[in-house]
Symmetry: D2
Subunit: 214 residues, 4 copies
């Protein structure tokens, strides 16, 4: 059961997937965050590759767009205010800013460049999704509690229905993983798993919100 | 110590307050969230009134703007997509959408109306702060893990230095309070307390980042 | 015939009005711009009242939302960068910032506050229209070549179909009126008249683009 | 003299250039708009190359950033709503979307991709300029009455001081050129010429607003 404040949501929620209005967003699966030698590597992030590849395969088969949302920072700027807070990373044109090779990319996949944590902040993501008549997004990637979560926030504010498959996102620690999923399931969208989503695509399309423990 | 990913930040951080470029943002201290009888009341939120009033008093005395960032929803819309997820609340023109009477308001305080969780989303907050040459914001209010946090995200993305006084924000539960503060202190700004901020305003202006336990 | 560059548009264009997805936007019909004694009055603006009232009546009768988009500037800001360029006007709470009394307002009309020329810039207009499933806007108001035009630009960028009724907008001079209508008809939407729109609402809904002379 | 409405601006305006806070924006100088064989070529646009190259040379010498703002449309989208109105153009990866070879590019020049007419709409232009502490922009390019003008609008709304050098922008016709310059000089910024700007950079930095005939 959620706490008394969070409980003020619509109960037993579900989202019914329609492939023609749904997209998969894969956030920051880049060498700098995922591969040994990267600028700020999340330990254990490689467990995401299998579920993410399965999810993307099913999406492409169903005709759904897959968009890689990739952090990139312009080299040579006088100042990049994100680096006032965080170590430099994902410099445009470097290996660190590339999608990890373990993920399969399709010929029609989209690539969106972002400059801050959220995939929607000062990018063409919203415009491109609305051009494509997308109203539902499935969000995967790293890290759950920073870039994934920021992207989920803005997706909800912009009116998208949001699904986060638990096994396709990883946080900086167990408390942050469950806390962000709890907030997402209660305030921004629904939490599910890659298998449930893939099954829904092959069936009636219904994905249920998982209850995340308080 | 933060986890290995979050640790990739600039260490021992501080922000030096300058009253002429700093503003206090008070998020969603409204009857619907704080007062018995409101639409979705956060239990115990009244502990914030004392520290928030002290912080605002010190800010006004120092000549800093105070802005109340208030959720409000237009009555009679065919649809309000926030209500697809959450119970209706803060209807424009109702008691629930008013700032709680326990907080002192000053004659020059600003009021910003927001329609979604973040105070920056489709509002004039950024424009107004930049018109006033503000580059640093102190963010107070409820709830830490939803509206406060969303506002902090966007403030950081827009280039503001961000300070969150721990005793001026309340979450939906203890795990969410510490998890959001942990993320804020590592990725978006610094966490401090109202007393430290008030002392800094009367002294050298330096506010240190509190280490939040992993 | 348009010039050779502008001619690269889809020819003989029309928009088919559907009342459930169309809204009327009335921009800046405020005392400061329209009424003797206002801060910067457009001479002759009163010719708009008749066609605008007729258009709004027909819209309300058809169940279409009418939104007044009103410029307002916060008093007491340290600086308002619009006033670096233009004389102060439309101060919030003053007579100058009120809609002219000659226009009829309905009980369900929306009011959107804007801080810059465009009705979409840092306001909740796009969010509110999308909440209401609006995809087509009819834009009336003053002045054609500044606030109306800026609003038309952003409406088109955001994906709305745009109709400007020629007799419901007035510019600062005849050259600016025809030049802005020419650009709108070739690049942003279609130009028509209030009578054609009202007729369309009572008939097949089709509104044709008027050819504006080069 | 401007008309009675437009005249409500600050008179005899000037902007004092400071190289460390000024950038040159070159809008849409792309093959599809400028070179024989392009998708929608503006006749005579080649007269801009000389003044633009001189302006950019002077800017780079003074240490000012030069940013090419380039329209680009994603191939293979289900729909691109700009193409509901305009002929397809500037497809990403094609010759038509490349900057004309007659313009000199420097190794530190920035490239900003835009999807709609305005360089600021859903791009990282504002963020990047603010990261670089730019508060003044000199805007050159094509066409004055569409993409240049839309970019000027948003630059002003975002708080930048705006200078448009008359000989570095070309419109779709003489009426549109003078009408857009008139509006810019009265409502959005100042109009000057490349020689005056280059002289100012070598002298006291002062650029005066040209009076554009009513």
């Amino acid at each position: 059961m959620p706490d008394i404040f969070s409980a003020h949501r619509h109960g037993d929620e579900s989202i019914t997937l329609r492939p023609e209005t749904t997209a998969v967003l894969v956030v920051d699966m880049l060498n700098d965050f995922c591969t040994a030698g990267g600028a700020m590597v999340l330990p254990g992030g490689e467990v995401l590759y299998g579920p993410q590849n399965a999810l993307m395969d099913a999406a492409r088969l169903a005709g759904m767009p897959v968009a890689f949302i990739n952090d990139a920072h312009r080299p040579g700027l006088r100042q990049d205010r994100e680096f006032d807070k965080r170590t430099p990373h994902c410099m445009e044109g470097t290996w660190g800013a590339e999608v990890v090779q373990e993920l399969t990319q399709g010929p029609d996949d989209l690539h969106i460049t972002k400059r801050r944590f959220s995939g929607f902040f000062n990018t063409d993501l919203d415009l491109t999704l609305k051009d494509m008549q997308i109203d539902t997004v499935i969000v995967a990637g790293v890290v759950t509690n920073v870039c994934v979560r920021s992207t989920v926030h803005d997706a909800f504010f912009q009116g998208y229905k949001v699904i986060v498959p638990e096994d396709c996102v990883a946080a900086t620690g167990p408390r942050e993983q469950i806390s962000s999923l709890y907030d997402i399931s209660n305030n921004y969208g629904i939490v599910s798993g890659s298998a449930e989503i893939i099954n829904a695509l092959g069936g009636d399309g219904v994905v249920m919100n998982r209850e995340i423990a308080e």
